[in-house]
Amino acid sequence: MDSIKYCNEVMARLETLMYQELSGMAYWKCEFVGPDFIRSKNIEGKNVAEITESCIKEITAAGIAKGIEYKTGGDGMMLKLKVDGCMHQEKEALVRAEGVNPYICPVANMVLDMIHQKLKFETSYLAKLAIDEKTQRCLVYMALYETADKIGHVTDWLKDDEDLAFLKSQPSQILAAADRKKK
């Protein structure tokens, strides 16, 4: 049996069913999908970069993704991952085939969970998940709030972002319909 295929089929069904039941709210409910794996590892680090690197090492060693690059920005409040060859790509395709934009990223959830657990960050948010089917690459943008007073500190995360053109072509969580723009 292809256990990865089986796993992705099960996950895709759950992801689409949950979207059917909760609509966009489902995006915010799934932050604990994925972290169990990383919690079983000895992740160490004194800051976001070290925690992220430690997570990447475990995730790639386990074959969950072939390669992950990361960068921080936004005065330390943004963490961007470029995930290549993720084992859940098949899940993403199945979810999209049902007309749902994939919203569950176990890899992102793992990293965020460790940032919460190890660095005691106040809160975080998986802000953007953009998937390039052709290259099998996912772009993940996450907001990190070390303390509550970081909320409301805004910068332009996409300034000089090398993936801006692709990102703009991707669906937005909050701009699904043009009429969401306030008149």
């Binding site: 709210m25 915010w28 409910k29 799934c30 932050e31 604990f32 936004g74 409040m77 943004m78 919460h116 106040e122 809160t123 975080s124 948010y125 802000a127 953007k128 943008y141 907001a143 709030y145 509550a148 909320i151 409301g152 500190h153 805004v154 910068t155 332009d156 995360w157 996409l158 937005s172 969580q173 909050i174 701009l175 969401r180 723009k181 306030k182 008149k183």
Partner: protein, 222 residues
């Protein structure tokens, strides 16, 4: 009460986020809760439970959590240049900047600190009902309408329980048993005497855009 009079109550309701500090009499709170009790519920399971919160310190904690929930999302949306697009329709740049800051700071969701009464709506997942979220929504709507009918303002607030981590914190604040199989936290209702006069009515889609007859897509009344 005629059908039109009832419709007038429904159509004159609006979400109120600014309240006078005046306390809400117990009799009014009881009537709001009584209205919830009569909401439709699958097989009469009545899974809803209500926590009435008047303690300022608790409301502050919930307000902070609400602010944090909304603010964490909207800050990110702003930094990704998406939140701005939702408010492009505000022509005055100063006003637009003020509105955006109000949103991404999370202050938009902080108002329960000023609401004299907050009612958390939760559902017991162990009673056997298969309709818990829907029953809770029906109860919430009944409370909103009852409050409005008595001249109170209210607002249904989801912000502090939107993410699973925040829902856990919300449960901690109110001492609600943790565990995914015990209680669902739907959201809370902030209630008080209205301090604001909002523009009303807000534009609503015409029925022709949302009603089909006999089959999906058929807009002709048969």
């Amino acid at each position: 009460m005629t059908g039109q009079e009832f419709l007038d109550v429904l159509s004159s309701r609006k979400s109120i986020r600014r309240y006078k500090p005046d306390p809400i009499p117990d009799e009014m709170i009881d009537m709001i809760l009584e209205a919830a009790r009569w909401a439709p519920t699958g097989e009469n399971y009545q899974p809803w439970r209500f926590i009435v919160i008047r303690d300022q310190e608790t409301r502050n904690k919930i307000g902070d959590l609400s602010k944090q929930g909304s603010g964490s999302r909207m800050t990110a949306w702003y930094c990704l240049n998406e939140l701005q697009q939702r408010f492009e329709g505000i022509e005055d740049p100063v006003k637009r900047a003020e509105v955006l800051e109000f949103m991404y700071s999370g202050r938009v969701s902080e108002f329960c600190k000023q609401a004299p009464v907050v009612i958390a709506v939760i559902g017991d997942l162990r009673v056997g009902s298969v309709d818990v979220p829907y029953d809770l929504c029906a109860a919430m709507e009944n409370m909103i309408l009852q409050a409005h009918a008595m001249g109170l303002g209210s607002c249904w607030v989801y912000g502090p329980v939107a993410s699973t981590r925040d829902a856990i914190r919300f449960k901690e604040i109110l001492g609600i048993p943790q565990g995914m199989g015990y209680y669902k936290v739907l959201s809370y209702l902030a209630i008080g005497y209205p301090k604001e006069q909002r523009k009303h009515p807000r534009p609503k889609l015409p029925l022709e855009e949302m009603v089909y007859w006999e089959k999906f897509g058929n807009k002709e009344r048969i």
